[in-house]
């Protein structure tokens, strides 16, 4: 399973409005809750924040991949969002984060979860793709970039 297998324009928010780490995670979780009718918002949020407490998922080059295993979802789901400006996400390179991929997976889909995370890491390693993402204004544009 790759990112493009499950990327869904309904689970994209461009731009994200939040300017703090906690609010941004909530905003991403809410995109999933609203579009997939997930009932356990607090369980989702708690799973993501618990993982985040172990160490930031803010990577380098503006990428952040908050993720968690949770019983609140039935399938691996990715919510993608971009902020207009980089925000402080405790990234490993000390810089701001701008491109967010929230990955949530049920307990029994470890393989698929790992494949999707690896797929995101590979896709976003491209500086050209990151530049194009930063210039994107809509979910349709982002979908086209990933499907190119």
């Amino acid at each position: 399973m790759t990112l493009t297998d499950i990327l869904d324009r309904d689970l994209m928010k461009i731009p994200l409005q939040s300017t703090t780490k906690h609010a941004l995670i909530e905003e991403l979780v809410d995109v999933l809750v609203q579009n997939r009718h997930v009932r356990n918002r607090e369980e989702l949020l708690s799973a993501v924040l618990s993982r985040e407490a172990l160490g930031s998922t803010g990577l380098a080059d503006g990428i952040a991949i908050p993720h968690a295993k949770t019983t609140a979802v039935d399938t691996v789901s990715v919510v993608m969002g971009i902020t207009r400006e980089p925000i402080d996400f405790d990234a490993q390179d000390g810089k701001g984060s701008q491109f967010f991929f929230l990955v949530l997976a049920p307990e029994h889909e470890a393989s698929a979860h790992i494949e999707v995370l690896a797929s995101i890491a590979r896709a976003t390693a491209s500086p050209a793709l990151r530049r194009l993402l930063a210039a994107s204004h809509s979910a349709d544009e982002v979908m086209r970039l990933f499907l190119d």
Binding site: T2, D5, L54, H67, H108, A110, H113, A118, A121
Partner: protein, 165 residues
């Protein structure tokens, strides 16, 4: 005329499609009286990539590795049971590493003459084509490859085989 395939390998990856491929392989092995091996590769390469990219903490890597090992054993056990049900002995093989590399190595070492794959996901982008493990397996296999599609037909075919007492 000798049977074309005497040693078949079906690749499992935890997807429903790969289980369907196993059902097709069991039916073929029974018809051809061939040896059947089911192989699950724990993708430690992907795990290592995630740690290297600092997406995973060490503690997560260990936890997920345990999860995948458990998944692998469950799927292999399931396919063994399916084989028993139809009177076909399935040899389970669990290994770890880079998926397509491990499969190719096994095919060569064991002189497998047919690789059966399911789970060919749609190629959405040029990037997918480069990264799909299944695609790589298909391209690098040293033997003929059967890609199983149409799950309903395979399920019907499998169910129509008489069970073994």
């Amino acid at each position: 005329m000798t049977e074309p395939f005497k040693s078949i390998l079906v690749f499992l990856d935890g997807s429903e499609d790969s289980v369907t491929a196993a059902m097709a392989a069991i039916a073929m092995a029974r018809r051809l009286d061939a040896n059947l091996t089911a192989m699950y590769v724990v993708n430690t390469r992907a795990l290592q990539d995630l740690v290297k990219a600092r997406i995973f903490l060490d503690v997560e890597e260990q936890e997920y590795r345990r999860d995948i090992e458990g998944d692998a054993q469950r799927y292999l056990n399931h396919v063994e049971r399916l084989g028993l049900q139809k009177g076909v002995h399935v040899t389970p093989v669990k290994t770890s590493g880079t998926v397509h590399t491990e499969v190719k190595k096994y095919l060569q070492e064991k002189h497998i003459d047919l690789l059966v794959l399911g789970g060919m996901s749609e190629i959405h982008s040029r990037r997918d084509e480069l990264l799909s493990e299944t695609d790589r397996m298909m391209r690098t296999a040293p033997c003929p490859v059967l890609v199983v599609r149409d799950n309903d037909t395979i399920w019907d075919m499998f169910e129509s085989l008489p069970d073994q007492p």
